[in-house]
């Protein structure tokens, strides 16, 4: 498989210069590197600019409701564990409308990889604040500037016990595709929050703004993503310097392992034509 095998015929509708392009490329690269076939991949998304991504890649796709990608993805994985399941979602989709599924699926820990196109704005609906919009940023709805504390996705994920917590940058495709590859290889829920400039509606967190601040934690050989307390400190960093990389890692059994389905054929492949329930009748006699 090479990059062109993942090319979709659908027209891309993102704005020129949008950070989403970099994520698309990085994802394709990661899939090529991992040697995955389109037929074995399932991309699940909600609604938003980010959530259009599955149409732009040759792979299975379930483009569902705004905010509801993660439950679809987790269940699809459980039902057919032969699939490599990846969620492409936005900061609104995942942390806003979909917040409850985000929390509880970290706990559930099915083997899915969640790539959040975090442009710190609602792109598709034309520029309202998202949960990660910086305080003070003015929009048509937040006319006096955002007054809510931004949501800290990495801190939250660590607090919830997520086993793979990473941050990438859409403009650094080499690094991002590596992160996505690692996320997919991690068994369990993997979060990759991706800084993604929205050139149309986010006039603050631009390529330049991010470019000045980002650095890679994994460049420091002493950085140990397995150490929760170091990781948590690192996750708190946001401002003058913004860390990229695998911030936190913990190995823990996945949902599939704990539920026992890892040792069964994929549920979808179990023959159902002649299930005999008569042995159970005795319990109702």
């Amino acid at each position: 498989m090479n990059i062109s095998d993942f090319k979709s015929n659908d027209e891309i509708t993102w704005c020129p210069g949008c950070g989403d392009f970099g994520i698309l490329t990085s994802l394709k690269k990661a899939l090529v590197t991992l040697g995955k076939k389109p037929k074995d991949i399932l991309l699940v998304s909600g609604i938003g600019q980010a959530a259009k991504l599955p149409h732009y890649i040759q792979s299975n796709c379930f483009n569902g409701l705004h905010g509801r990608a993660i439950p679809v993805a987790a269940a699809a994985k459980i039902a057919n564990r032969n699939l490599t399941v990846i969620v492409t979602t936005g900061d609104g989709d995942c942390y806003g409308e979909g917040g409850n599924h985000f929390i509880h699926n970290i706990r559930r820990n099915a083997d899915i990889t969640v790539v959040v196109h975090n442009n710190q704005i609602y792109g598709l609906t034309k520029g309202q604040a998202s949960p990660t919009t910086d305080p003070g940023y003015e929009t048509k709805v937040q006319t006096g500037g955002v007054i809510l504390e931004p949501l800290h996705p990495l801190e939250m994920a660590i607090a919830l016990g997520c086993g793979f917590v990473a941050r990438g940058y859409s403009a650094d495709s080499g690094h991002l595709s590596w992160l996505i590859g690692e996320g997919i290889s991690h068994k369990g829920f993997s979060l990759i929050d991706v800084l993604q400039p929205c050139v149309t509606f986010n006039k603050k967190n631009t390529y330049e703004w991010y470019g000045k601040r980002i650095y890679k934690v994994n460049d420091d050989p002493a950085y140990d993503p397995h150490d929760k307390s170091t990781a948590y400190q690192k996750a708190c960093e946001w401002g003058e310097r913004i860390p990229l990389g695998i911030i936190y890692r913990a190995d823990k059994p996945s949902y599939e392992d704990k539920s026992g389905i890892s040792n069964m054929p994929a549920l979808a492949e179990i023959e159902i034509n002649n299930i005999d329930i008569t042995p159970t009748f005795k319990d109702f006699k």
Binding site: H55, V72, A74, A76, A266, I275
Partner: protein, 569 residues
């Protein structure tokens, strides 16, 4: 009350009415009687007042009476609360001393249950067993049968406990034989039959297992939860994943994800939880993903009466979801229908790639009846996917291919060489987002007109009984089946009934044909608006003459409907 009697066991939540009820049910079943049992409980874990009611009969029974012949009052409150619910010759079994009741009445049968349990069993916990013994004695059961029931019930508790229970039961039994003088409660047992005894929720769960449901997800909500409990109990044995969702939105979306990935999937809830699934229902319609949803109704709006019964979500289920798409809605009237229609629901959902709803309610969910074992050949599992074998041959696959029937062949991801795009936006045949007007029209026709046309060819036939002869025909759907049936049978030729176990697509033509000469038509509905009557008005040509409605959270009983019928006869 010839050939039957009704026993009501009442007390505080936590006093074990269900335990007594279950034991007595087994007892009478073993004795060859027929049973209809229903439950009335409050939304609390301790205290209050609940009851388990058991109608025991020589002939099959399908519904309940308003009054009980024997009331077992396990606490003081129950005596006052259920006195009015005693039949003419009814007996109130009570422990006057324990309940602190000084007065006495003709109907009272005072049994020192407490003392009996303590002195013979050594503890209060034997009260329930003592009560069983008393009732067995009052109803002329042989003690051997009760002993059998006790041995089975406590089989995993060790012999000491078993023997103690038997001793206590015996004492109660003998006390009743010695002291209960009225001999009103003796029936003639029929031949012993190999029947099942289960409730509506259990029937739905068993059908889901049989249908090959491999992924069940739900968020707990009374009165639907026992579907999940039953499936969870058998999950390991039948290779089913039962996953408690974080909320109902997750449940419906997980069910859709699992279904898309290739398994038969189901969820269940009650009205409030279903309200949260409405967006997902619309998603199922748009993405053409099969899913089976049981909505076990309870009185609403909002939290309402969490543990009681109502049929007020008919209109809601018919029209839930933004936009227009095909759906099917079944409204089983009996335990048997709950089973067969759930099986059918899975087949239809998969065939038409639509959401299928099973509309039940607390009364059907929690009521037990003895029934013939299910005929497993009656409804076969009919798969409507491209099998793994066939998948090898597939090329150039498009998920939403336009076809005559509106149904596009459905492939499973990873089975075919190609890829599958499912999409919640308006989409092309490939499943990509489109803004095209002509495509939109084709897709609406596919999802709505064409699928509805197909579904109309597979409508479940309504039950009809004595339509032409009757001077009044009663109409109902869902759990009212039993009361309609028994009323009509008892009425000689006066009453007829028609029961709809499928309410969408509605069998409109069939109904007009069947009812065209009906003299008077009355709907019987557990709601305040007469929603079935409204639906008939919209869908059919026939005229409805009135509705008998009940919306106090309680199920219909024979006498309730009978009394309200008078003005129409």
């Amino acid at each position: 009350m010839p050939n039957e009697f009704t026993i009501k066991i009442a007390g505080e939540a936590g006093q074990g009415m269900q335990t007594i009820g279950a034991a007595l049910s087994r007892l009478y079943k073993k004795a060859g009687f027929h049973i209809f049992a229903n439950q009335d409980y409050m939304s609390r874990v301790r205290g209050g007042n609940n009851f388990f009611q058991l109608r025991v009969s020589e002939k099959p029974v399908f519904t309940l009476h308003q009054k009980a012949d024997i009331v077992v009052a396990l606490d003081k409150k129950s005596v006052a609360l259920h006195k009015a619910g005693l039949s003419d010759k009814g007996v109130m079994v009570l422990d006057r001393k324990q309940s602190g009741i000084s007065e006495t009445e003709d109907s009272f049968f005072d049994v020192a249950l407490h003392e009996l349990a303590a002195s013979i069993g050594g503890s209060d916990i034997f009260i329930n067993t003592a009560a069983c013994g008393v009732i067995a004695g009052m109803t002329a059961m042989t003690f051997g049968l009760l002993e059998e029931v006790i041995r089975e019930a406590f089989s995993d508790k060790g012999s000491e406990i078993i023997e103690k229970n038997i001793k206590v039961a015996k004492a109660g039994y003998e006390f009743a034989q010695g002291n209960f003088k009225k001999k009103a409660f003796s029936l003639n047992a029929g031949p012993l039959k190999d029947t099942l005894f289960l409730n509506g929720n259990e029937a739905i769960a068993l059908a889901a297992i049989k249908a090959g449901c491999k992924f069940y997800t739900a968020y707990p909500m009374t009165p639907s939860t026992s579907i999940m409990n039953t499936l969870a109990h058998y999950a390991a044995q039948y290779n089913i994943v039962v996953e408690q969702a974080e909320d109902e939105i997750a449940a419906i979306n997980m069910a859709l994800g699992a279904s898309f990935a290739g398994v038969r999937a189901m969820t269940a809830t009650s009205g409030g939880g279903f309200a949260l699934m409405v967006e997902g229902l619309s998603l199922a319609g748009m993405t053409e993903t099969p899913v089976v949803i049981a909505e076990v109704q309870r009185p609403a709006p909002a939290t309402g009466f969490p543990t009681r019964t109502e049929q007020a979500d008919l209109d809601f289920l018919l029209h839930a979801g933004h936009g227009e798409f095909a759906r099917a809605i079944y409204a089983p009237g009996t335990i048997e229908e709950a089973f067969y229609l759930t099986l059918k629901a899975f087949n239809i959902a998969e065939k038409y790639q639509i959401p299928v709803l099973i509309m039940s309610d607390q009364h059907l969910a929690d009521s037990y009846r003895d029934i013939e074992p299910f005929d497993l050949r009656r409804i076969k599992v009919e798969r409507s996917i491209i099998s793994k074998e066939e998948s090898k041959e597939v090329s150039g696959y498009t998920r939403y291919k336009l076809t005559e029937s509106g149904i596009s062949p459905r492939a499973i991801p990873s089975w075919i060489e190609g890829v599958i795009y499912a999409d919640s936006d308006e989409h092309t045949e490939e499943g990509h987002i489109t803004e095209d007007a002509a495509t939109r029209i084709q897709m609406v026709e596919k999802r709505l007109y064409k699928k509805m046309a197909g579904l109309c060819g597979e409508i479940e036939k309504p039950t009809e009984y004595n339509i032409t002869g009757a001077s009044c025909v009663l109409l109902g759907f869902g759990s009212t089946y039993g009361v309609l049936k028994e009323l009509c049978e008892k009425s000689g030729n006066t009453l007829g009934f028609m029961h709809f176990s499928q309410v969408w697509p509605f069998p409109a033509k069939e109904t007009d044909r069947i009812l065209k000469d009906a003299k008077k038509i009355i709907t019987v509905e557990n709601n305040a608006l007469g929603q079935l009557a409204r639906l008939l008005k919209r869908e059919c040509a026939i005229k409805i003459d009135g509705s008998i409605l009940r919306f106090d959270g309680r199920p219909f009983d024979l006498e309730y409907v009978d009394a309200r019928l008078k003005k129409y006869l």
